[in-house]
Amino acid sequence: MKTAANLFLDRTTWDLTLQTSKEVVDVDNGHWDSDRLDVVAQRIAESLDEADARVHHVTILLGASLCLPACFTCESQRQARSAEALGYRLEEAIPLAAEDVLADFQRDGLSVFAVATRRAPMEAWVLALGERGLTIDFVTPEASLAWEYHLGIAKGKQHSAAMWQTNHETQLIEFQDRRPIAWQVLSNEPTELRQHLKVQRLGNQTDDQPILLYQPSKTSDASGLGVVDVDHSTIHVIEGPTLRESATKRLSEIRAGRQRVPFDLTPVTGKQSARGPLRLDLAAFQLAIIVLLGSFVFSAWQQLQRAQSKTDQHVIAQEEVFRELFPESRLPVGVLSRLKSERGKLAGVRGKSEDQVDPISVLPILHRFLSAVPSDMRLRIVSSKIDGEGIDLSGEVREFADADRLAAALRSAGFLVTPPRTSRLPDQGVSFRLEAQLPNEEGNDG
């Protein structure tokens, strides 16, 4: 068990102890009142810090003077199950409004045993300690822990009540079927105590059962109470733990998770919960935020890595494309722009001409011209010029009609031929000149 702090509160005093699994060590004590609660809380925090800086959890154990017990019977099971309804039933048994108290209940059918404490002082305590970093595990009556511990160790003993005596008072808890039905604080004065027990026994149906009186040792002054019959009732003195020892033992069991808090009077303040769980919730919330952000960071990092990896793959693939095309060339910085440049060059050198500027070879034109000239015609060519547009031809024929015949033959071969200009030569024959052009689309296509 980890070290934990117990703060025992009474109406005007406080007592701070540190509890481990082996021992309970007194740390500090003093007086308190509502007006100087901050000072007291600061002192408690400092004392704890000095005693063991690791301890931040405190259990507040209320003395009998701060508790208001009550026992009542509900009208229905529904009422017994409703905490709100029980609160109002409690109002009938104690002199405080339900809103002003913190209460917890133990039910046995319709029978309910309640313990309450004033709300305002407890809230002030929880707030003051909480502001100093101390988490209140729970607030519970010290005596309730003691009698729960007693019921645990006295299973085989028939008894109707248990008593713990201190220097100032005697606490009496009555049981019915091992459940508390009354909690009283009595004077230690023997006569008064006997009288009370006598009255108590008269109304008790289980008067044949003894009352167990816990005392640290039998040698102590049990006779102060008068360990004698009190009108046929017997008080059995048990050499056992004091009220506080019983309470702290029960507390150990609760902290170990073996038992539950019998009466939880822990307030929930607006500023800070006194309960450990909310404190834990805050830490869990902080952890959740960090985990959430951490997962977001991890996700973004993975996204970044994935994108970078894909980018690298694309770059490598581009470089492979370039190396396949130009195995001898050095890898350029911008592969795509280099490929565009190379494609542009190749399109200019080997692609189709968009500008239609390609020179046209005269050989097909010459071939077409020579094929078109009638084979039986006597023709003398004086000069000719052949280029991409066609043929400019000067020559001599025998008759004017021969020139026209030549023009017609060229037209048949697909040339666009102007009417030949002819003139009779002085000696014999006719000179002519004609221009034969290729249609535009053929000329351009070469």
Partner: protein, 179 residues
Amino acid sequence: MSKNVRQSTVLFSIVLTALCVVAVGLHFAAARAETREGLQQDDLVDCRRMAMEINRLRAGKQRALLKTKPAGELNRKISSWAKQSGIPADSLVRIDPRPPNRVGDTVYLEQVTELEILGSQLPKLVELSQIAEQAEDGLKVSSMRLSLPRSDPSEQDVEIWNVELTLTYLIYSPTSKRR
């Protein structure tokens, strides 16, 4: 508030701030990386398309040069082609390479070389033209001017011609403006 609580709060704030900064930084870096990845993927698609076009163009016939031919190289080739086509060396009287001229507002230059051959038969001239066009990618005989020699044709056994041939190269030379 105790010292420990204050310390844990400060620590939480520092961790939270650091994580926020890292998260925001990584988020923007990842967004930039994804944009870059998208661009590189587009580039890869373009690269593959360019490669296909380059391979297709490489299979096509060359119709232009990337640079001008040195005059000496062309002279040697023309002499060789004339010899192959049976034209006597003394018939080739002129080889006249002209400086390249841009063809209109295009990405091409035209390099013209004029030849003058005297007293050659037409079949040999045609053969010379065919050899030249087949031997040189992008070379075309773009013009042929035939004329009869001044001597009396009746004195000759075979038909011979004086000829001026124009050989034209196209050179791909884009200007920065057209690029």
